[in-house]
Symmetry: D2
Subunit: 349 residues, 4 copies
């Protein structure tokens, strides 16, 4: 019963096989391997973006921070949601990579930016030399609260940004989960909706540690390569990243894995209707469930070894049993129906 | 005949097995996995350093740049050899990670710093507010020219640095190759010789992509963790790094692999005595051979698909056959005697 | 009728005389001039802080940003008010100087931090490696809304910060105005109330362009000198900064000038009681008045050449006459009663 | 007898008068003052560059570091002479302002870059992602050894840089001294010779503390404004900088002052022919004399209060009288013939 994060799950067997296959003889290092050519072609095809620049890195923080650095000068204002991963979970990596750009925090329910809130923030930047300058938009899909932005919702936000000429980035650490939840195409969810640059996650969805950065306008490709190298994120034995990404995109493995995770979350979410005192905190739209239930039943679950996080962390396990505490439960590609049912039984009884 | 770099070689089978073994069920992310505990213990034991802080990252540039950032303020002067990897091969990563520290370049034959040259450079920093401040020493072992520093040679340099209170870092991307070449202990080659912080390489010696940072004085351990995270080098699925490092240290695999590489280089180096017009450019002391031979024979080799780099790159393949060009030939754990002999035959004939 | 800012006022005649006096013969550069020794001694005496390190720079942004950089690592969280000058008026200088530290914005009426809001923000930093780390407090006195913090109010905030071991900085661009408003001693308003480092303003109160940085614990003095030089803020012809600061502190000139400015603001503030539709937006406690009055009367004032800023800037001069617009009116040492009365007449009629 | 630096001299009386004149009533801050408009026009006229962007800062380090930051990305290589002020005298300010760009050091006699040395360094940058990227040229005129580059010499160097598309900066801290030494026009010495951006010094030539940055191609003007503000180098009471610069350019004051300094240096330089054991170390071409003479006579001079620097600093005043020590003697606009003659008498006797 391991719902702490999708990054605690193992690597999908198809990916392990691909790594073994890749481990034959010598290969050109630093991204000039033949597997990378294949992975790049496949990604361009998946996104219907034949000119996109495509790079691999090994962590989501690297993918996001490098992407932001490509789009904002040090004196820029990056508009993101108050709960965005780049704001709360990267130890200031965006400031480090950008040379000190400011994240301007936008409000909105369920971790989705409200267009009104974004519009106000955009308007407040008056272009004076005394303040930082509007520079870009970054939004997360799946959001940090397990909700998704539809293409229309994305377009509403990117439209506001583009009215000021700002490029738009998507943190897609769980892009596959959003995509299968929405049933649209990768293109519809990105460049057709105004996204210029995507962190395309793999690690949370069955890879060992690979994220792609997809730059739909390749004009800044070389700058990206220099930034990646300078940040220590260019891998010498790059073929092992390429192999993972290629396997991920082969036979729709990425979509299959994401569907499994989303289905497990749906089952878990529906189960909360049967928990006395249980309720959902955010709508369950992808592979994460945000729910509240009585503290006493949290204690039971923790005592039986269930792994998950209270959200926010600051809640205390000490105190009256009946008080509800909210939690985040993340399902992965390998969460089984049995895992879900055992967990629900545990907090139901 | 692939001598371009040891990073073009595949992953050792024992390491692939360990990755497969690690791929069971869930694991705590971000370095709190049980394999990391085992790897840390093993590294401390190997170095006779029970208090050392030990961290894993995936690239050598990350290991070096994070180590430097831990030891120098932005206004510091880092003393390194003119040919050091941190100076010539990391696209300025040290400046990025340190916030702009300066690399002060020290001369010395065969990429080993001359103590005299270091002493002069140390003396020149007069502590004026107008100039950067002496802050640390960084040396590479195996050096960029394939030579090694003995413990005594290291101590001569660290002694000069420590007379000014400076901490000392070793870039040990090929540490195992140096160790088996010298026949000393890891402790003798590091902290007993004045090294405070080590980039302990694995990637070039049979791993998929893991380097350890060993901090002999753990006072700055927490700062290292923050810097690693902020730079996007903290892995969520960290167990796959841990597993590699643990396998590397099990049954002396790391030493076995390094001995194979060094032996291949020795065989190759000796072979140059039989090449008409061939000569060694630097002594062969570990797993890299720097040799010169006539241009015409380079053309033969390249035409037959031999892979290696001219060193320096700027030499031209065009021109008279008899002119000698110098090259770098790196052997890896999987370079076979047959590879070496075929290559020698090719340029001999 | 020039109420745009106190930085639009001329230099006090005593200061111009001091500059002329200083312009005799040669002087040692870079802060080793004899006038600096005198200014340093005088500042230490004024603050009852014989060990304080004292440095001069020429702009308030430099004083603040260098001070912050001395107290926070790049991964630190600096707690400041949402309206703080460091947040809204320095084009991201704190991020530049600190290497990317984050400003965490605290609420509170009239630009004074609420202790509750600060306490909540301090508690939220849970020390996880995934987020930035609590590092320091910075508060502004006189605040950006023209209010002042009393020593007790300061102590309430610094006490919260110090419970977490955080150093405390005061942006005292209008320190003299706060001091004379409160009638306490410089020591009571700073180190006795928990302030570790002060930006001691002079430019807005009659100098040409000098701010002192007063570091009550001198342990980081040398680091400050290096940071100042590296940022281009160490002046070669430093005597001209020293002369200004020394004149400022001689015969209580600084207090006299501040009293004049505060008195003008009090007169102006009281005058708003006589303006039809006029009202104060913030209490007038020092030398700035925040008031609202009907748009039509703004038009009159602007048409007659009155200089001041709407606050916020985003309000429009177009629209119905009766709608009140809020404005910021800053008095300086040379604002005369006549200036005030003419302005009031203008918007009254 | 004060030859330590031209920055130890007082401010020219015409400039003090201009400051007093400027000190009337209110003025718009932050560079929007009317004196700045006049100074900008005058500078454009002087340089025959009607479109040039012109900004004022208060220190030479700020002028240089901001200029460099405008022309190089963080991963850039800035080519400068080994003795350049940006390399040896700014505590790493270029690295701070640029975000970590590297200074690549070029050799050449008398602090003038040798075209051959520059050509070799330019060729070595091969554009690999593993190394920093060629980004700009910076040369100093008057050089750090008191020599000057002629327009032809400048063009030879900028031509090499421009063949690689690199912009060219001149550190003109002593631009006026170079100009009057050469007898050419400001345009001939800058944009007509391939200079794109100039640090136009005033402080060392009779101002209190003002340098102009002249950007011949104004496309990056707004970025410069943001960088200046963000670095704390935008002055609120800007009129006092403007007034200095305007006075400097009025009635050719800047040229008159520079001629005085150069004439004093010429007299001093010629005097060394009469010093037993005396010799010039570098040709005297502007306002600084680099000469060597016996240590015993240095002791005499120092004992009598003469102020100057040994160059290099590391030479010792202890030891045999006859050994020559080299020194740097800088003349300013107010160095009198009598000062020169008394100094020469002192070391001659």
């Amino acid at each position: 019963m391991f719902f702490a994060s999708d990054n605690t799950a193992p690597v999908a067997p198809e990916v392990m096989d691909a790594l073994a296959q890749a481990n034959q003889g010598y290969a050109t290092p630093y991204g000039d391997d033949t597997l990378m050519s294949a992975a790049r072609s496949r990604l361009r095809q998946v996104f219907g973006a034949p000119d996109a620049a495509v790079y691999l890195v090994a962590t989501g923080t690297a993918a996001n921070a490098l992407s932001l650095a490509l789009c904002t000068p040090p004196w820029g204002a990056v508009f993101c949601h108050r709960d965005a991963h780049v704001e709360v979970d990267e130890c200031g990596a965006p400031a480090f990579f950008t040379g000190g750009a400011k994240l301007v925090l936008i409000d909105g329910a369920h971790a989705r930016m409200s267009p009104d809130s974004l519009a106000r923030a955009l308007a407040a930047g008056d272009g004076s030399v005394h303040d930082v300058q509007r520079s870009m938009l970054s939004l997360t899909n799946v959001t940090e609260n397990g909700t998704v932005y539809s293409p229309d919702q994305i377009r509403a936000l990117t439209g506001l940004a583009k009215a000021h000429g700002l490029p738009c980035h998507m943190d897609g650490a769980r892009f596959a989960n959003a995509l299968v939840a929405l049933g649209c195409t990768p293109a519809e969810l990105t460049w057709k909706a105004g996204i210029d640059m995507l962190s395309f996650g793999g690690t949370k969805n069955g890879l060992m540690g690979v994220e792609a950065v997809v730059i739909f306008d390749p004009a800044k490709a070389w700058e990206f390569e220099l930034r990646r190298k300078r940040a220590g994120h260019l891998f010498s034995k790059h073929r092992y990243l390429s192999a993972q990404m290629l396997a991920y995109l082969t036979d729709d493995l990425w979509l299959t894995l994401a569907r499994q995770a989303n289905a497990a979350a749906a089952r878990l979410s529906q189960g909360f209707a049967t928990i006395p005192g249980g309720s959902l905190v955010h709508p369950t739209e992808a592979n994460a469930v945000f729910a509240a239930w009585p503290r006493g039943r949290h204690r039971q679950a923790k005592a039986q070894g269930a792994q998950y996080s209270l959200a926010p962390f600051s809640q205390s396990m000490d105190g009256p049993d009946a008080v509800p505490l909210s939690a985040r439960l993340v399902c992965s590609w390998c969460t089984s129906d049995d895992d879900v049912d055992r967990f629900l039984d545990l907090i139901r009884s």
